[in-house]
């Protein structure tokens, strides 16, 4: 198996995640899409760790860090979602437009 196959897969997943993050209306799904994008990045880390110019486990370490950060992000994001829901009684992204004013 070559490096480019993994990279292409990761690219596809990243693009799907990006598209979802930009268009989905439900905040939960937007957050999930972001997780998907992070996963796509992790595939890159691990793929480069094996097939990159300098194969080593550093890639794995980075992937682990990324997972840790992603977990933190998910926690905070969901907490914010709950807070938002409590104030607005909705989880729709397009109704969160306080930035405008």
């Amino acid at each position: 198996m070559t490096l480019s196959a993994y990279l292409a897969l990761s690219l596809i997943l990243f693009c799907i995640g990006l598209y979802g993050a930009l268009t989905k209306r439900n905040t939960v799904i937007v957050l999930i899409c972001i997780e998907l994008m992070l996963n796509a990045v992790n595939i890159n880390f691990v793929a480069f760790a094996k097939y990159g110019p300098h194969p080593s486990v550093h890639g794995h370490v980075f992937a682990l860090f990324a997972i840790a950060v992603a977990a933190a992000e998910a926690a905070v994001g969901l907490a914010a979602l709950i807070a938002f829901y409590r104030n607005r009684k909705t989880v729709r992204v397009d109704e969160a437009n306080s930035l405008k004013h």
Binding site: L18, T23, R25, V57, A72, A74, A75, L78, R86
Partner: protein
């Protein structure tokens, strides 16, 4: 075509299928569950990439922890009549622009990675990668590792603070 290749294709197919289903389904719970498939497939790919430790972490954290939190979040918030409502924001223009931008980005990057190959076969990786990772984490990466723990703590506290009912919200209840 070797067994590894077959495994890769199947797993890749599963990952993409999960992601696409996530986009297409209408029920939020179903969406999250379809993504679990993707996460699991990715874990499988990690195994193929001789990163068993990462694979295990992937299953634990994503398929386990994060998915569960997501489901909790969905259950804690109201999602009535979601099936009939429009799932996406903006009009056709917004969607088309997003699709176009994503596609352009994808194609441009694909042009770059299409033939990328460094000729490495991964034989240089230590067979016992969990041990190697542990050694690196507690020696070379000690400080980042500690900082991550701080980060997680901060996230924990932050999540509690954010999710805690404030006075105003309580009155609404």
């Amino acid at each position: 075509m070797s067994g590894t290749d077959i495994a890769f294709f199947l797993l890749a197919l599963a990952a993409i299928a999960g992601a696409v289903m996530m986009l297409q389904l209408t029920n939020v719970v179903h969406m999250v569950l379809s993504l679990v498939m993707t996460f699991l497939a990715i874990a499988g790919l990690y195994v193929l990439l001789s990163a068993e430790f990462v694979a295990v972490v992937q299953v634990l954290i994503y398929s386990g922890a994060i998915t569960i939190i997501m489901l909790f979040a969905i259950m804690l918030t109201r999602h009535h009549a979601d099936d009939k409502e429009r799932q996406t924001t903006g009009g056709v223009g917004h969607k088309a622009a997003a699709a176009f931008a994503v596609l352009a980005f994808g194609l441009a990057v694909y042009a770059g990675i299409r033939t990328l190959d460094f000729g490495a076969d991964g034989s240089a990786l230590p067979a016992d990668n969990a041990k190697a990772i542990g050694q690196w984490l507690y020696s070379y990466y000690t400080i980042p590792f500690e900082i991550v723990s701080v980060l997680l703590l901060v996230a924990l506290i932050g999540a509690i603070v954010l999710a805690k009912k404030d006075g105003k919200g309580a009155e609404d209840e």
